[in-house]
Symmetry: C2
Subunit: 144 residues, 2 copies
DNA sequence: AGATCGCGTGGATGACATCGACCGGGCGCT
DNA sequence: AGCGCCCGGTCGATGTCATCCACGCGATCT
């Protein structure tokens, strides 16, 4: 993981569709060597996958909210229960009073309410506190 | 934006590297037609860009925290101030008592503390409340 | 009915990923 | 120090793929 690897990852984050030749020129390597480096980055798990970034509003998920989930039991084994709710984009165990923090995207606030209802139905959940996002300044890739 | 478009986006989210031929076979189209559909999805902004998903821990951002930022002024014009802090991955205006919610990734908790210090230095910021993530259940693409 | 347009197919072509042969410099071993 | 090994690079060949074009079909509007 040297400077060249970091430069490659940074450029791939911006555009994963460019040719290995272009990528190689940018970092001062041949296409073959570039290909080999990127292959190893994938192999090591530094690059998890190549994907497309989608506009949430364009696919019917214009409402974004973060929900603090309070519980009266250990939630460490409840991964599947949260995964089963399709509208949940992220779920994290957190330090502090609530025990789980989830990121939810829905089309409408009515659907958000329905997600909260389903969250209450999860074993051990004793309460929720939803924070609705009014405007997103930015969402950007990891710094390197 | 019909069922085929949704299927294309879903498959591209999982693997943006596959060939248009494979993609086309999966949805029942020729490579040419598939290419044209994806081109239009990009043009319309449904697909914002193609990128790689990176393991945060592998690039020195093993600590994740969400920070509620309280303020005593209107924060709607402070986008640049938050953008200037590289460790901030997302920044949102929120409804509720705090006025901005940011997602922060750092290598260590010391660096997290430094980010909080820099947040205090932003005009109008009157307080912060950081929630440290202990374990991430999952982070996944948008549902379709 | 006829013209038009959006959306598809199939084939040609040039670019690109991918692989293999080869090379050189750093490093440990004797 | 000299030797050999291995990692990581260049270069060139080859098959696959993206990309473009000519054309066909059906729905819509006049």
């Amino acid at each position: 993981m040297d400077d060249i690897d970091r430069a490659l990852v940074r450029r791939l984050q911006q555009d994963a569709g460019q040719s290995y030749a272009a990528l190689g020129t940018a970092v001062g390597l041949s296409a073959g060597a570039t290909h080999e480096r990127v292959r190893k980055l994938r192999e090591r798990g530094v690059i998890r996958r190549t994907t497309v970034e989608v506009d949430p509003a364009a696919v019917g998920s214009g409402v974004l909210a973060y929900v603090m989930v309070d519980s009266n039991a250990w939630m460490g084994e409840s991964k599947e229960a949260f995964e089963a709710i399709a509208e949940i984009q992220e779920a994290h165990i957190i330090a502090g009073s609530a025990s789980v923090l989830v990121k939810v995207r829905t089309a409408t606030t009515e659907q958000l309410q329905d997600v909260l209802r389903r969250l209450y139905a999860v074993d051990g959940v004793s309460g929720t506190h939803a924070t609705v996002v009014l405007d997103t300044f930015f969402e950007r890739p990891l710094p390197l």
